[in-house]
């Protein structure tokens, strides 16, 4: 964390504080920094820029060069988007740069952010063509570029090699069925005395149930806005999840598990499998945090045995872009920040810190190719697509989807019923 600066005096801030106790503020820490850049992001975006493993603070030069301090405010994915849109909807916001995920920018949302084409023209990003065109496309709404891609997160299957060995499993699964079987076997108490769950998955993200549905050739909402194009596949996917839950291969606390918990559980050996972006590999194997450094490996999420070899598995990739709220101040500084973060040097540095790089050239860099998961990721990425496309009621649709999925997985609702319910409840939202 680099929260050296948490309070700096601006006019409005001063107005607010002076009444309450300017004296206290004066006694508190104050820093003689020219400018402040407020960034609203997920914690991981901040981590990859400097405090992860790797070569320290990637933006040190930028800070000194621009005489600016960067203040990060971080939230979990969904709350982050809620907050970003709320801030952008106001008259003015203090946040100069925000991070947006590619399934959120609808027309209305996009209108709240600065179109970046003119910035690009005036003050171009280094070798912009190097940034994956597909990702750039995802940040383009109505022909206007609203965000510069900064991270892509392709979901892969992570497993703890040590735990697999302990249970006599020599190779990771190649089909979904094998994965389930292994996960069940890996629900045990390890030698270290830790109770191990076969798999840990967050319950508040659509990513995971969608992956299971895709393993059977289904989907939630596809790119053509078809809702549940293959309901049976969704049913099969949910059935698998439910069975895993019933057998304890998914922990009892499934319903309150958060994305972050997945990382900790794997690091501590409390779970054998999880689904996370490949980029998390570095963090999962971090010597300081993980009890199993070097033992956590990643592969493509396996497809069901029926489809194996017939169609490729379509894993989920989500991409993040940096946006400038149209109501923010000092947009020049924001753009300078975006430009710097998008540079080849920083992109590579972030990739080393565990960021999914957005530049094609990064994959060619020797120091990144050594990354144990780079090749797998590149392979998976070929068939990957987003969890669902952006539309105005996407947040509510996701919430309904997750509610029904949780009910089904926890065994409170028949799977068929839940899937039917998803269909009827989400449908009106798509039409709206």
């Amino acid at each position: 964390m680099s929260d050296k600066v948490f309070t700096n005096i601006t006019r409005r801030g001063f107005l607010g504080t002076s009444l309450g106790g300017a004296a206290m503020l004066a006694a508190g820490p104050s820093f003689a920094v020219g400018k402040t850049l407020n960034v609203l992001s997920h914690k991981v975006h901040q981590t990859v820029l400097g405090s992860g493993s790797g070569d320290g603070d990637l933006l040190k030069d930028w800070r000194t060069g621009n005489d600016a301090e960067i203040v990060w405010t971080t939230f979990d994915s969904n709350p982050l988007q809620d907050r970003l849109f709320r801030e952008a909807s106001l008259n003015t916001t203090d946040f100069n740069v925000g991070y947006i995920v590619d399934n959120r920018p609808t027309k209305q949302i996009a209108a709240m952010f600065e179109p970046l084409d003119s910035y690009l023209e005036k003050d171009a990003i280094e070798d912009f063509g190097d940034i994956a065109p597909g990702l750039v496309q995802g940040m383009t709404v109505d022909g206007k570029l609203i965000g510069i891609p900064v991270r892509h997160a392709t979901q892969g299957l992570f497993y703890n090699e040590a735990l697999l060995e302990e249970q006599g499993i020599s190779a990771p699964p190649t089909t979904l069925e094998e994965l389930v079987e292994q996960a069940q076997k890996l629900t045990f108490t390890s030698k270290a005395g830790t109770p191990v769950a076969g798999m840990v998955l967050a319950s508040d993200l659509a990513v995971f149930p969608v992956m299971f549905a895709r393993a059977f050739g289904g989907d939630f909402i596809n790119a053509k806005f078809e809702l549940l194009p293959n309901p049976e596949a969704m049913e099969k996917g949910l059935t698998v999840l439910r069975k895993m839950f019933e057998s304890g291969a998914l922990p009892r606390s499934y319903a309150t598990t958060k994305n972050d918990d997945q990382v900790t559980w794997l690091q501590q050996g409390r779970a054998a499998f999880t689904v996370l972006p490949f980029a998390r590999n570095a963090q999962l194997n971090n010597k300081e945090q993980s009890k199993f450094p070097g033992k956590i490996k990643a592969i493509e999420f396996p497809i069901s045995s029926d489809l194996k070899g017939k169609v490729p598995m379509s894993s989920i990739v989500e991409a993040w872009g940096m946006v400038i709220p149209a109501n923010s101040k000092d947009k020049e500084l924001s753009w300078k920040f975006i430009k710097e973060v998008s540079s080849k040097r920083v992109t590579l540095g972030m990739a080393r810190n565990g960021n999914g790089p957005v530049r094609v050239s990064t994959y060619a860099d020797q120091s990144f190719v050594n990354n144990p998961v780079a090749a797998v990721e590149a392979e998976v990425l070929k068939n990957a697509r987003g969890a669902f496309p952006p539309f105005p009621e996407a947040a509510r649709a996701q919430s309904i989807f997750l509610e029904e999925v949780q009910l089904a997985v926890l065994g409170r609702k028949e799977i068929k019923e839940a899937v039917a319910s998803i269909a009827t409840r989400v449908k009106p939202l798509l039409q709206a």
Binding site: M112, R396, Q406
Partner: protein, 291 residues
């Protein structure tokens, strides 16, 4: 001269009234307008009449949230009242170190919801929580709050009780201390047993205090937000959502300001209803005591 006095009083009253009007009353009225329109980000409001209210009231998620809220209000508040009453009587019966004990009982009042949730989440953590460990050791079932919605609600209820028991207790205790000792002496001379005295003297005289404590706690329990939000965020599967969390979701997750506003006014009306019901009862009771 009378008018003169009002003008003299006005500068003293104005700050409070201005604060309340500008922060609570006018925004609340604006919420009424919002609730009659459909709006979201980047979308101008369109008048939809009572549509938002109908949508909220027919939304199963809202009904579930309402049901949960009512459950918490009914169970937590009444249990809390019973505990508070028991403690008040225990304290009134004479305890050594009463002042110290009183302070100990008050302590949870100082604890913020955030920290209380952190504490309780840890104590009842299914894997590492000390209370869970103790329950298992005693062969009792653990509180499986992260999985069972009913357990989660119990956990939220316990947490609420823990946080607010000091309030209920103090009100009842103060009321109990206000009952003159002579009454109990007179009752004893009249041949009343301890239980008779409790039933025929204590309870009727505590009546108004009990009603007041209940009224307050109903109203405050009805708006419960932080405990639930921090403990379960309404999960699993929105099964532990309460009305305030539902409102928050509508407003700040789904950006549906119209339905959020409708929910807000349903909350206000429900609170007023609870209040008037009990104010009415209270008046009747006071009148009854006079006769």
């Amino acid at each position: 001269m009378r008018l003169n006095k009002i003008t003299e009083a006005l500068p003293f009253l104005a700050p409070v009234q201005i604060l309340i009007l500008s922060v609570i009353v006018i925004p609340s009225l604006y919420v009424v307008w919002l609730s009659l329109n459909a709006s979201s980000f980047g979308q101008s409001a369109t008048f939809v009449g009572l549509d938002n209210y109908i949508r909220v009231l027919t939304d199963p998620a809202f009904l579930l949230a309402l049901g949960n809220t009512v459950l918490i209000v009914i169970f937590a508040v009444h249990l809390e009242l019973a505990l508070g009453l028991g403690m008040a009587l225990l304290f009134a019966s004479g305890l050594p170190f009463r002042r110290v004990l009183l302070v100990a009982v008050l302590a949870p009042y100082a604890v913020s919801e955030v920290i209380a949730v952190a504490m309780w989440r840890f104590l009842f953590d299914p894997d590492v929580g000390p209370v869970t460990a103790m329950l298992t050791w005693l062969g009792l079932p653990m509180l499986d709050w992260s999985f069972e919605p009913s357990h989660a609600l119990i956990m939220i209820g316990l947490l609420t009780i823990w946080l607010h028991l000091p309030f209920t207790f103090i009100i009842l205790y103060a009321a109990r201390l206000a009952i003159p000792k002579d009454l109990y002496e007179a009752a004893r001379i009249d041949g009343a047993t301890a239980f008779d005295a409790f039933r025929r003297v204590t309870i009727p005289l505590l009546g108004p205090a009990i009603v007041v404590a209940l009224l307050f706690r109903y109203i405050f329990a009805f708006r419960i937000f932080s405990e639930v939000w921090l403990m379960t965020q309404g999960g699993p599967a929105r099964s532990t959502e309460v009305v305030a969390v539902y409102l928050y979701q509508e407003a700040f997750s789904f950006n549906a300001f119209g339905t959020a506003a409708a929910t807000a006014w349903i909350m206000v009306l429900a609170s007023l209803l609870l209040a008037t019901g009990y104010v009415f009862l209270l008046r009747k009771q006071v009148a009854g005591n006079v006769h």
